[in-house]
Symmetry: C2
DNA sequence: GTCTATAAATGGATAGAC
DNA sequence: GTCTATCCATTTATAGAC
C-alpha cells in the first residue's frame, strides 16, 4: 500500500485517501489549518471539491488522521524506550527517537505542535501530547536521581526546554536529500546535553 | 496613558484602542488568529461588533499593532546590545533581554511566533523577524571566533536551537505573580550555555 | 471517480438610530 | 460610544449528472 500520495492501483487514475491526506497536510502547514480552505486543498490536488469529498468525510477528519499519525509515532518511541535499562539510556534513546520522528514525520508533527484546542479532535490530541510530556518529565526526574542530568533545574522545566529545542526543528529543518539529518540530530543532542559554551 | 486595558479617562465609560487590542490579542493566542472571529472578540470585551469597529478599522489592524509591539521590543534589545564591547557580552545581554521581552510582552510575541505569512501584514512581520534572526546568527559567529561559543556547531543552527529553546517560553510560561520569572530566565541561560548533563 | 451547481451557515465589515 | 440590523463574500458540505 502506498503512502506517498502516488496512486498504486493498476490502471486506476485518481487519489487514494493517503494521497489526499498528504496534500492536505502540506497546505495545512503552509498556511495554518484554519486559514486553509477545502477549495485550496482541492485546487492543490487538482481536484474539484466534489471529488475531494469522495475520499474523505470532512476537513476535520484530515486533521484527525494526521494527528494520529504524529502521536502514534511519538508514543511508539516512548514504548520502545521502556525496553532499556537505566534512565540515562532510556532518555538518550528517547531524545534520538524524538528527533528521528520529527524529521521523518515532519508534516504531521508540525501540525500537532501548532494545535490550539479549538475542537474535540484537537483537545483529544492535546491530551495525548500532555501524557507524552508527563512521561518525559518522569524520565528526566529519574535521570536526575541517577546523577545523569543536572539537579539544579526543575524536571518539568528541563523537559520543556529540551523539547522546546527539539520541536523547533519543525520550524526550520527542511529535508533536502543531502543526508544532513543525522548530523543535525547529533548536534541537537550535543547542545541539549553540553550547551553552547566552548569547552 | 493606560496600556492595561482598563480605561482611564475620568468619568468616561468604554474602551480605548489599547484595551481593545489587549483583549483581542488574548483571544488570538487562545484560539489562533484565524480561528478567532470578530464576534468572539466583541463578546470577550462585552461589546457589540458595531462598537468594536468604532475603535479599530479591521481585524488585520489588530494583528499589525500587536506584531509591531513585539518586533519593536525585540529590535530594541538588539539595538541596546550594540552598545556593549565584545561579542560574549553582547550575546549574553541579548539572551537575557530576549527572555525578558518574551516574559514582558508574552501575548504579542506569542502571536509573532505563530505567523504563517498569510497576508502582506504577516509577511512584513516575518521579514523583520528574519532580519533579527540574521543579526543573532552574526553575533553567534562572532562569539565563535572569540572562543566563547563552541565552534563545532554551525552558527545558523546554533541560533535556531538557542531561540527554539527561548521561544518555547511562549508555549508554557505563564506569569503568576510568584516572581519566578528571573529564576526561569537564569535556568534557561544555564541550560543553553552549559546543557542538561550533570556537571 | 470526477464534475458542476448549490445549499446552509458563518465571517468581516458597515449603516444608521440612540 | 454603543446598539441592532444587515450586506455580501466566503466556507463547509451535499446533490445529482456523467
Amino acid at each position: 500500500m502506498s503512502t506517498s500520495g502516488v496512486p498504486t492501483r493498476r490502471g486506476r487514475p485518481g487519489y487514494d485517501q493517503q494521497g489526499v491526506l498528504d496534500g492536505a497536510v502540506e497546505l495545512f502547514n503552509l498556511h495554518g489549518y484554519d486559514a486553509t480552505t477545502m477549495d485550496m486543498v482541492a485546487a492543490h490536488l487538482k481536484l474539484s471539491k466534489g471529488a475531494l469529498y469522495h475520499h474523505i468525510s470532512s476537513k476535520e477528519q484530515l486533521l484527525e488522521l494526521a494527528l494520529d499519525r504524529a502521536l502514534g509515532a511519538l508514543e511508539g518511541v516512548l514504548a520502545d524506550s521502556r525496553k532499556l535499562g537505566d534512565a540515562a539510556a532510556r532518555l538518550e534513546f528517547l531524545m534520538n527517537g524524538a528527533v528521528d520522528v520529527l524529521a521523518r514525520e515532519l508534516p504531521s508533527v508540525t501540525l500537532l505542535l501548532r494545535l490550539r484546542g479549538n475542537s474535540a479532535v484537537e483537545r483529544a490530541a492535546l491530551d495525548r501530547r500532555r501524557e507524552f510530556d508527563a512521561r518525559v518529565t518522569e524520565l528526566i526526574a529519574e535521570a536526575q536521581s541517577d546523577g545523569t542530568i543536572r539537579r539544579d533545574i526543575d524536571p518539568g522545566a528541563a523537559s520543556r526546554m529540551l523539547f522546546g529545542m527539539l520541536n523547533s526543528l519543525t520550524e526550520w529543518y527542511r529535508p533536502d536529500g543531502s543526508g544532513d539529518g543525522p548530523r543535525i540530530a547529533a548536534d541537537m543532542l550535543t547542545v541539549a546535553l553540553d550547551g553552547l559554551r566552548a569547552p
